[in-house]
């Protein structure tokens, strides 16, 4: 049992926090939110210069290979900073997909460019009707003369507008699930760009017999490895959410100390004190579940990994709902404005709850696992 972090992990956290503290103030972020692109390529390149985009690339591939704990710490800082850049999408999820499924040639082709910030890749997997059930993926890949032909649609793909490369999950003729690398500018892709509630950029993607090369598939059957990629991505998303919870809780405590009504700080009123105590409890429980999710990323038992990470996503999702709503309430009218941290954190927490499977979907994963183990 050891809850400390080693020097390298601590340094990653410090580096990220220092950089975001300097370059990503509320005002700087607000400008980006209002800008045409909605993100900063300059910040992105700087993250690359700091090595943070190579965080989850193995050392053998020229990366840092920081492992799940390093990913957790940096993701926490990224969440705390409410980063708009595609850190989770490209540097964690897409990176892991290529690391776990790509051939040597594919790894060599993409990973160095992703590490430097020159190439952005995103996983295009979610479909509106499929939920978290891989068997419901309806995008299809069929063999064609020169390679593959891809048809189908993907829903709310975060950071698709700025991506150069899509990693698209699709059902293959032989019944397997495949993952295919498709250039964002390939013919036959139509893209409806979206701004999400939490201020990030995304797109609905439609693939109409998109022709891709024969070597565009990553590995063969993708199911188990894609599940691992998404589970570990979910763990990183949980860490992001924890960073947001940290920011919104501290902002609420600070506000209740300074805001005066009836001649006293509102934090002196017991009705509000007890709510903040409950927020802190949920926050600390969320931290524990984040640790569990992080540790489970390395679990070789896929079912155990799944159940633990789903459990974390569900419990942190509930904490996000509770803490977020209470934070807005405790800020009173100011919580309703666009001018303070609290509303921006609140919207990011909403996105956390709904992305990578809702709280209910993850509770169901745990429920099915319980029923299976109890019946045995």
């Amino acid at each position: 049992m050891d809850f400390s972090f080693n020097d390298e992990q601590q340094m990653l956290l410090d580096t990220t926090q220092r950089f975001l503290g300097r370059e990503y103030s509320f005002e700087q972020r607000h400008k980006l939110l209002e800008s045409e692109a909605g993100w900063s390529r300059e910040v992105w390149k700087q993250l690359g210069d700091l090595g943070l985009l190579a965080l989850d690339i193995p050392e053998a591939d020229g990366g840092i290979g920081a492992g799940p704990v390093g990913v957790m710490l940096v993701s926490q800082a990224v969440g705390h900073g409410l980063l708009l850049e595609p850190f989770l999408s490209s540097a964690i999820v897409a990176t892991q997909a290529i690391v776990r499924m790509g051939s040597n040639a594919q790894r060599a082709q993409w990973l160095p460019a992703m590490a430097s910030g020159d190439l952005i890749a995103v996983l295009a997997h979610d479909e509106a009707a499929a939920g978290i059930d891989f068997s419901r993926i309806s995008t299809r890949a069929t063999r064609s003369d020169a390679g593959w032909s891809l048809s189908g649609s993907k829903s709310v793909v975060y950071h698709a507008p700025m991506a150069d490369l899509y990693l698209v999950s699709a059902r293959v003729d032989d019944g397997s699930l495949g993952l295919f690398a498709v250039a964002a500018d390939a013919a036959g892709i139509s893209r409806r760009e979206l701004r999400t509630v939490d201020g990030q950029r995304a797109a609905d993607l439609a693939f109409d017999t998109v022709r891709i090369d024969a070597d565009a598939r990553l590995g063969d059957e993708a199911g188990d490895r894609l599940a691992a990629v998404i589970d570990c991505g979910t763990a990183a998303l949980c860490a992001e959410a924890f960073g947001v919870l940290d920011r919104i809780l501290k902002a609420t405590i600070e506000y209740s100390r300074s805001r005066k009504q009836f001649g006293a700080p509102i934090g002196s009123f017991q009705a509000l004190q007890h709510r903040m105590a409950d927020m802190l409890i949920q926050f600390e429980q969320a931290r524990s579940m984040m640790y569990l999710a992080t540790e489970s990323c390395s679990d070789t038992d896929a079912a155990a990994r799944r159940a633990a990470i789903s459990g974390a996503k569900a419990l942190i999702g509930q904490a996000a709902r509770h803490v977020g709503q209470q934070a807005v309430q405790l800020h009173g009218g100011m919580g309703m404005t666009d001018e303070l941290d609290v509303s921006h954190c609140f919207k990011r927490l909403l996105a956390f709850e709904l992305r990578f499977g809702t709280t209910d979907e993850h509770l169901e994963v745990c429920r099915l696992q319980l029923q299976e183990t109890v019946r045995q």
């Binding site: 049992m1 017991q270 004190q273 459990g311 029923q371």
Partner: protein
């Protein structure tokens, strides 16, 4: 970061498990499993003697007083494994509450007189804190102790005295000065329960059990030598004691045991043509509390780790108390719901309450106390707020 116990801690856990398997008497194990408190004094005392003979009578004491010298992690493992094995909990009032105060603030004479008898279960201790007008606001207590030569004369009433019907000794907070701030005039006395003038009256609880008492003091003469530390400094000692009552405050092992029982019930009980665990709504309720318990277990381990690193204590103990008690209460609710109307059978000459119907409703009713005693959960929230807000 590593959530797993170290190899040494795992080896220790194996040792505790083997000890419990080989040493915990079957009849005690069975009564604890069934929630049968009919021989609670004998069971707790017998088990304490077995532990003591093995050198494990006081997990949290330093070796110089006969304790194990275990780390906090080892204590956590021991408590958890004991609960999972249906061992009776040690009598907290002696081993966990008055003993640390005697070790820290008592005289050498008091240490030599009382501590070995606590270890060997020769004295049964109880606590005299709460009064009719002093619950959460404990400092307003009014039981008086007036000096008369080399004795105090104690008059007053204590309530919610747990298992005092068996007690040889009671540790009491009494008022020795009413002139200043309420906290300043309190002293900490050890009182022999056989002293003339003490009467014990049972308070029957909602589950039908008899585990708490009112204790009346009518001109009870207590030697000055039975005072801990200085006169009027008792509040300090009481606060120190509270800090020691918290080593197992989350009750992880007990909740794990009751969760295991809940799952066994859900796997066996038929409802609406299927086994209860196949009911998706009920299974989801179990999952919810299981996740919360898992999170709290990790939170508890984090607190233990931080203590070992000498981090200054924050509001952790209150978090563990609030969440631990809420989780245990939730599990007892679900046990009652699992049984449905059969949980309502309170007593019968013809239905075997041990085998046929677990005492789920009794436990549900009784465990409502968890969020009330030991500093109510509302008081705990006040403590958390004061620490994080400092307004």
């Amino acid at each position: 970061m590593d959530l797993a116990f170290t190899p040494q801690e795992q080896a220790f856990r194996d040792e505790v498990r083997a000890f419990l398997r080989d040493t915990l008497p079957d009849d005690i194990r069975r009564r604890v499993h069934l929630g049968d408190g009919s021989q609670i004094k004998q069971d707790i005392s017998r088990w304490q003697r077995i532990l003591d003979e093995h050198g494990w009578g006081a997990p949290a004491w330093p070796p110089e007083f006969g304790g194990t010298g275990w780390s906090k992690a080892q204590q956590f493992i021991f408590e958890t494994e004991c609960a999972l094995a249906d061992a009776p909990p040690q009598l907290a009032f002696g081993v966990k509450m008055v003993a640390p105060v005697i070790m820290r603030f008592g005289s050498i004479e008091q240490q030599q007189r009382f501590l070995p008898r606590i270890l060997a279960a020769e004295d049964w201790w109880c606590q005299g804190y709460s009064e009719p007008g002093a619950g959460s606001d404990l400092a307003s207590l009014r039981t008086r102790a007036e000096l008369d030569g080399d004795h105090y004369v104690v008059n007053g009433q204590k309530v919610w005295n747990t298992l005092g019907q068996f007690a040889d000794w009671i540790f009491c907070l009494v008022r020795t000065d009413s002139s200043g701030k309420p906290q300043r005039g309190i002293s900490f006395l050890l009182i022999d329960m056989k002293t003339p003038g003490i009467s014990v009256r049972p308070t029957r609880l909602l589950d039908g059990s008899y585990e708490v008492n009112e204790i009346w003091f009518d001109n009870v003469r207590v030697p000055v030598g039975n005072r801990i530390g200085d006169e009027n400094a008792g509040w300090t000692y009481a606060k120190y004691l509270l800090g020691h009552e918290r080593t197992n405050i989350a009750g992880i092992g007990a909740s794990q045991r009751e969760l295991r029982r809940l799952k066994q019930m859900a796997a066996a009980i038929q409802r609406n043509g299927k086994v209860l665990i196949a009911d998706d709504v009920f299974a989801t309720r179990i999952v919810q509390v299981e996740l919360e318990l898992k999170a709290l277990e990790i939170t508890n381990l984090r607190v233990i780790f931080a203590e070992a690193q000498n981090h200054a204590p924050g509001p952790e103990a209150s978090i563990l108390k609030i969440r631990g008690t809420e989780i245990m209460q939730r599990i007892t609710e679900l046990q009652v719901e699992a049984l449905g109307a059969r949980a309502l059978i309170a007593e019968s000459a013809e239905v075997d309450l041990d085998e046929e119907v677990p005492r789920a409703a009794e436990a549900y009713l009784n465990q409502r106390k968890l969020t009330i005693f030991g500093g109510s959960n509302e008081i705990q929230r006040n403590i958390i707020a004061q620490m994080i807000l400092q307004v």
